[in-house]
Symmetry: C2
């Protein structure tokens, strides 16, 4: 929250949390998980999440078309449902648009929304539209189903569990760094590596199939999607326990594009990997040892990166020595510009 220095989690904890003892029986998971889990009829669990995107806070119109924006809005919400092991089903869209945006903008946004909804089997069931006095505001509420009633919570790591991640980390943050550093004079043609990293930021791939398999095969004791960054999201996994974690920096899976490109980046590659966020890969804990764990699921690699420990705190090791990390995660802040379109 900028100058007031509330992180999202502090803010929710301070102003919007309720002790879980107050939760009605039909709420299985409430605030603080990737998605809420409710069982309105005492039987079928329903997953519910929502995420909003605001122009010049979450993206720049210069490098996200309305189509891209709609697609990313859907994908980041799908990722929250996936992180519980669920399948997305129903969406409600809220949009606030500044006056000068007209039919072309809406046509393009609606195209991205339809395509993403079709990809993930989502039906639009409602929403709200409004004028906005400044930025474009889009918010999606997404409801999903826990297949066979099974879902993977966020807050139940166990000591000596192994920590796994899907895919590769740091790509989206490196892509954002490239986008933010581009100027009027930047070449419009990107090399393949840069294009890959930028795509990882603009069009992240929620790991629905992988997460569904992890839930169905009961491979994970808990799971989260990496949206805020590895260290921050690992912190969320641990926050309701007295446990800690140790990670080996060398074991974190990196893409060839990241290895080739990020060494010249500012922030440092380590910061992008540990605190960059928005990769929307899965981070999960499992009692299954690496030698017995699947090497990949649905074509996506699973990589062991560390273990859950009895003592609190997150310790990152590089070449066997403790590597210093921030406590809260890399808080990306766009420089504010005039937000009034008129």
């Amino acid at each position: 929250m900028g100058e007031t220095c509330w992180s999202e989690f502090e803010l929710i904890d301070t102003f919007f949390n309720m002790p879980s003892a107050d939760l009605p029986d039909e709420i299985i998971a409430g605030i603080g998980d990737d998605a809420a889990v409710i069982r309105p009829d005492g039987k079928t669990p329903l997953l519910v999440t929502n995420d909003l995107m605001i122009e010049d806070v979450h993206y720049r119109a210069a490098w996200m078309s309305p189509f891209d924006l709609a697609r990313k809005l859907v994908r980041i919400n799908v990722s929250d449902i996936a992180a519980m092991g669920g399948q997305p089903a129903f969406g409600l869209l809220s949009i606030g648009l500044p006056s000068p945006l007209g039919e072309n903008w809406l046509q393009d946004f609606s195209g991205g929304l339809s395509q993403a909804f079709k990809t993930f089997g989502i039906t639009l069931i409602g929403g709200d539209t409004s004028q906005s006095p400044g930025p474009v505001i889009v918010a999606l509420t997404l409801m999903g189903k826990a297949i066979n009633g099974a879902f993977v919570p966020r807050h139940s790591p166990r000591p000596r569990d192994t920590l796994y991640v899907t895919g590769t980390l740091g790509d989206a943050a490196a892509g954002l760094t490239i986008l933010e550093s581009q100027t009027e004079d930047s070449p419009s043609h990107r090399n393949t590596r840069e294009a890959f990293l930028i795509t990882r930021h603009i069009a992240p791939t929620p790991r629905v199939a992988v997460a569904g398999e992890i839930a169905a095969r009961q491979l994970a004791s808990c799971m989260i999607d990496i949206s805020d960054g590895l260290v921050a999201d690992l912190g969320h996994l641990l926050e309701k326990s007295d446990l800690g974690a140790e990670i080996s920096l060398e074991s974190i899976p990196l893409s060839p594009a990241f290895r080739d490109t990020a060494s010249g980046c500012n922030p440092s590659p380590e910061l992008l990997i540990l605190e960059g966020g928005e990769d929307y890969e899965l981070l999960f804990t499992s009692p299954i040892q690496p030698e017995k764990m699947a090497k990949e699921i649905a074509g996506v690699p699973l990589t062991p990166i560390g273990t859950i420990t009895d003592n609190k705190g997150i310790r990152i090791f590089k070449d066997g020595a403790l590597f210093p990390v921030g406590t809260g995660g890399f808080k990306h802040q766009f420089k504010q510009k005039d937000s009034n379109h008129e």
Copy 2:
């Protein structure tokens, strides 16, 4: 949508509607009703709605405290659930806040939210928080239950049904007119009538108990809450049919405060009554004739104001003569001011 001239309904229809043949079986009512109705397990219907409020579009910080804002956000969403005859149950909150707003703002907002949630039996189960580069943005997704599985749809009026409204109309629009006309020099002390009208705008009363009774006793063939204005919302009731409606202006119930105050108002009292909106009263159709209909439910008066006709169009009569009304409803537009708080 301001200069682009899309009404909310045109916009949804053009860009976000899907033919109902595409809806999965488990979606009983989708876009265009007060709330969506889903039956994820094929049994218990769940109602879902969302509404957003944006500073300087839906309210002014000058006359809505954060407490008032939270309370109204909850109440307008509750009204959508009530208009289906349902009971609210679970909420997800999304907020975008400009940096300078700090702890006091959040404390006050959170107080209003808690109080309203307690009043209506709602549990907060999730949400999202973000910085905003300009206006305060608050959005609530509210899920509710159809008691005993019964709910009242929006789109099934029948010829010769009587049209009924709860409470009185025009109050909230008159209250808004008073608020918008106030200047630095306005007296801080309001007379009782003005205070009543302003309260009707700032803290509308969703008709949950009345609507629940109407649903349980199967009094209505269709129902909507009056948020956009009587003519516009009646238009929504009729939009999927080939039917029309006739209304007698004299029969529309008015509060003593409205009668005393609004005659001097600009816009005219008739415009406030017919097109003002935000009263959050119920408008419903019923085959039950006025002489057999309850005069009030849960202490709230029910008033017959007209009938459903075989011929399309909405006709308003004043002193027996046709009274001209706009087709789309009174579109309140706040004058835009600098939306940047920094």
